[in-house]
Subunit: 324 residues, 2 copies
């Protein structure tokens, strides 16, 4: 089973076919960065159209069992998420509405301070806000996963502790391996995984040791070391694949509408665009390279199977339905 | 089985308990008259809160089998609908979005011309519009019922013919019995019922012979005559109960935001408010009066059971899911 914990491609039939060619059973797809509620609904509508147009390639994912259905029928299940809480605006009631529409992950922040928590680019991290506590409780109730990939350390640790259900860092790597602002320090990964949460390893070059030049051996060795430290069962892939997106999109991801000045995020004035992906992970057809790389590290077959998808499957099973 | 094909009460725990006291298994509840999409979502949110607060009294209805669940557990299933297409604004993609959120009925017009069809108060009826044809097709596809209660004759007949699935007039009576603008002429009822559609009998006094003074015997006799003409299987109740609403609400129903002048609709300057309900139908506890009245007309037990709920149940079973 192969499940990717995060992608944001410039979707079209080509990628849907590549997911099939790569035996990808399920993908968590970002459908909002800065969108408000109505704009997010337009993104759901766009996907509804694709589900109607490509019923032989993709199905909408509501619960983990939809992955079984997708596998049995040779399709990929698409699960939706937001990298920012902007879709709920200032209205907690929209958590359940958006869950009903299919949202299964929501980041409490995207780099900046939000109404709920502090993003990883702020200089001060004040932790989970008053509204943040209420929204965590509501997300727990309906079965929407708290994703802290772009949040600051204290906020992430507090979220892991406040949440009654496991949380996720869908796409990031250990800071000790590659000290990027977006990668996660030991105490953050520990807080998330000790509470049953998941870490999805990112292949976005800014999160890799040596960036685009990182080898698959180095990446997989890092995963094996992380498995030793936190347990292989809490790990998955969250490739952060932004396939075929023009550079205007990464600028929009970074600046949205919150600034009139350019913010280069993880890039720089010299390299403002999307970085080039490593040669061993160009698109969804390349998951086999990671699987082979993981096997070569000496991880057991069961551990490799878990990291490639089994762990996300278990996590989806436990966290997408209402709290019992 | 008792199912009401339309209510618009000023909901609170009292009415939920009265539905239980009256053995009402399911109600189609109006949640939009003039609301746009975002406002309609707020109404879904309000109901989500009630489902959370009163889980022993009400459940959200998605499909007919939820009525079985409601019966088995002593609760009432609430199905949602709109009396105007304003919730889809000018965006056909919102049909599926709103169906996902739980909408199962939508009127193509509320008295006035809409983007889709002509309302029953307009002087010219130009039938189904270009967008109307597309929206009918989309409603057919996802399983949202076309309700023509407040539409003009030609528009209604065209909708019945264009629609691939049966349509409904959820709340109105035969014009021959009571010549109100909102009641339906023979050819209209025939077009709807011949295509498998349903007529729900209204108890809103403006639709009754003798208005608030109409007797239950007269009302039930009218139903028996209608059954002879169009077949008992195509008939149900759509009480149009607007319990505990202040008169400001009927004014808002009539004028929304489309006029700055007062429009009295079925009322008048002398009687602008809600008319008084007949003594035999004050609230949800009074369905037994109708059931007894129907039995007294000589309709068979099976016919009475169908009109009280069985026919709506069958119709819900066939029309709330995707087109196959």
């Amino acid at each position: 089973m192969r499940i990717d914990g995060l992608q944001y491609a410039n979707w079209c039939e080509k990628q849907f076919r590549q997911m099939r060619d790569g035996d990808v059973d399920a993908v968590h797809v970002t459908i909002a960065y800065h969108e408000d509620f109505r704009e997010t609904v337009l993104n759901f509508e766009k996907w509804n159209r694709w589900f109607e147009q490509f019923p032989d390639l993709i199905i909408k994912g509501h619960q983990a069992s939809d992955i079984d259905l997708a596998r049995d029928t040779g399709r990929t299940a698409i699960f939706f998420g937001f990298q920012n809480p902007s879709p709920i605006e200032s209205d907690i009631g929209l958590v359940e509405i958006l869950h009903t529409l299919g949202a299964r992950f929501m980041q409490l922040t995207y780099n900046n301070q939000s109404l709920l928590a502090t993003g990883c680019y702020e200089s001060e991290d004040t932790g989970i806000t008053r509204m943040g506590r209420q929204v965590i409780k509501e997300m727990n109730r309906v079965g929407m996963v708290i994703d802290m990939s772009h949040s600051a350390d204290r906020s992430t640790i507090e979220a892991a502790e406040i949440s009654e259900r496991p949380i996720a860092i869908t796409h990031a790597n250990p800071y000790d391996w590659s000290p990027a602002l977006r990668n996660k320090r030991d105490d953050v990964i520990r807080a998330v995984t000790e509470n049953g949460g998941m870490l999805g390893f990112s292949i976005y070059p800014h999160h890799l040791q040596g960036k685009s030049g990182c080898t698959v051996e180095n990446f997989c060795e890092m995963i094996a070391r992380t498995a030793e430290k936190y347990g292989a069962a809490q790990l998955g892939i969250g490739s952060d694949l932004c396939q075929d997106q023009p550079d205007s999109v990464v600028e929009w991801m970074r600046t949205g509408r919150w600034t009139k000045e350019i913010d280069f995020g993880e890039g720089s004035a010299d390299a403002p665009g999307f970085p080039e992906m490593p040669t061993w992970f160009r698109d969804n057809r390349d998951f086999g390279n990671i699987e082979n790389g993981l096997r070569a590290t000496g991880l057991s077959d069961a551990e490799v199977a878990g990291i490639m998808g089994g762990n996300w499957y278990r996590f989806f099973t436990e966290n997408f339905g209402p709290l019992e």
